[in-house]
Symmetry: C2
Subunit: 209 residues, 2 copies
Amino acid sequence: MQSKPSMPVIKRLPRYYRDLGEMEAEGIVKVSSSELARMMGTTASQVRQDFNCFGGFGQQGIGYNVKLLREELGKLLFPREPVPTILIGAGNLGHAMANFLRKDTQGFALRAAFDVKPEMVGLTLCDVPILAMDALADYCAEHHPKVAVICVPREAAQQVAQHLIDLGIRGFWNFSHYDFSIEYPDVLVENVHLGDSLATLSYAVNNDL
Amino acid sequence: MQSKPSMPVIKRLPRYYRDLGEMEAEGIVKVSSSELARMMGTTASQVRQDFNCFGGFGQQGIGYNVKLLREELGKLLFPREPVPTILIGAGNLGHAMANFLRKDTQGFALRAAFDVKPEMVGLTLCDVPILAMDALADYCAEHHPKVAVICVPREAAQQVAQHLIDLGIRGFWNFSHYDFSIEYPDVLVENVHLGDSLATLSYAVNNDL
DNA sequence: TAGATTGTTAATCGATTAACAATC
DNA sequence: TAGATTGTTAATCGATTAACAATC
């Protein structure tokens, strides 16, 4: 039976999806839980447990059909139309992430970018307009974006977060070092803390872990 | 007594370090484990357990001295001179990460960047030269960088990884979707899988989690 | 001394792994 | 049927939380 997936399980789904994509590209038709486990660096048990949170995608005695399994995971990860998305902070990082959103992923449609710097307003970023922060309320009222990518410094993030939440944004891809999750527990935040990531690497490199 | 830290503990260190930095900036002198727990969204028990992996940083009955505690964590995360670092792939993302390395973090000193595109060679990225990929072996032989930031696509990453490891690179900050960890278990890799992160957000947003 | 809060040991909880019956 | 491999239940392991003695 299906037990609803825990966070560790959910976090592994994209990786399965990715690996299965590679296999499909290589023309591999069928895979067993133990083969997948080897690719993922985990155990066959875990692979089967993970999939069985969502339903039986395999055939006993046979294994999993690569294409079918990937499609099922795709339906879980990206079940609907791409989500209308805006980006706050059209600097260096914002530029790179806009590019990433357009080229290297699915599920999100970037519709507009916002920046405080007057000289950026009117320019475009990956074919979407860069608007003034003042225009944010009007834009949201008209277009109802669902997700915001936060590419501004921590101080600015703290200010803009409440604003965006009031305007109906429910999901955040957060690159700032401000942690929403504490103050707004009902909002969905995926944090990418680059500084923390580097600090972890520093610990590992310096302590020979 | 000290038990050597598990990965979850290590991953929390940068966050403690960050929060303590904010407190220090606000002029806060002393903090208790329960106050820190509230900031971190965890329990006082965990905070004390975490610190006691490294030694007693607090005073019974009093709490922790913010400045002192932060210094101790700093010594753990960044115990030595900044690590000489190179960047592979001077595109959009590479540019943003070079900036990040220079401005927003410590522990790493970017020394050179490398790119396959001939037109980029000779330019600079955050004051460091962009060199041709051909020059990689010579550069490493002369300067012995320790860490490489991988900002190239997966296919290229797979090729360059073996090369870099042969040249003596031990640590990687990896933005490509190629997973070193499986094939080279003795190498230190900190992965930033932006695609996986977004897919997780997509799951959350679409499944109302 | 009384109150507060740590350091540390013990109990709980959840996630991973192992085992095995079901079935292709 | 025999071999393979899943789905699922049970056992293990590790991380988190609770409890409490030590001590400032």
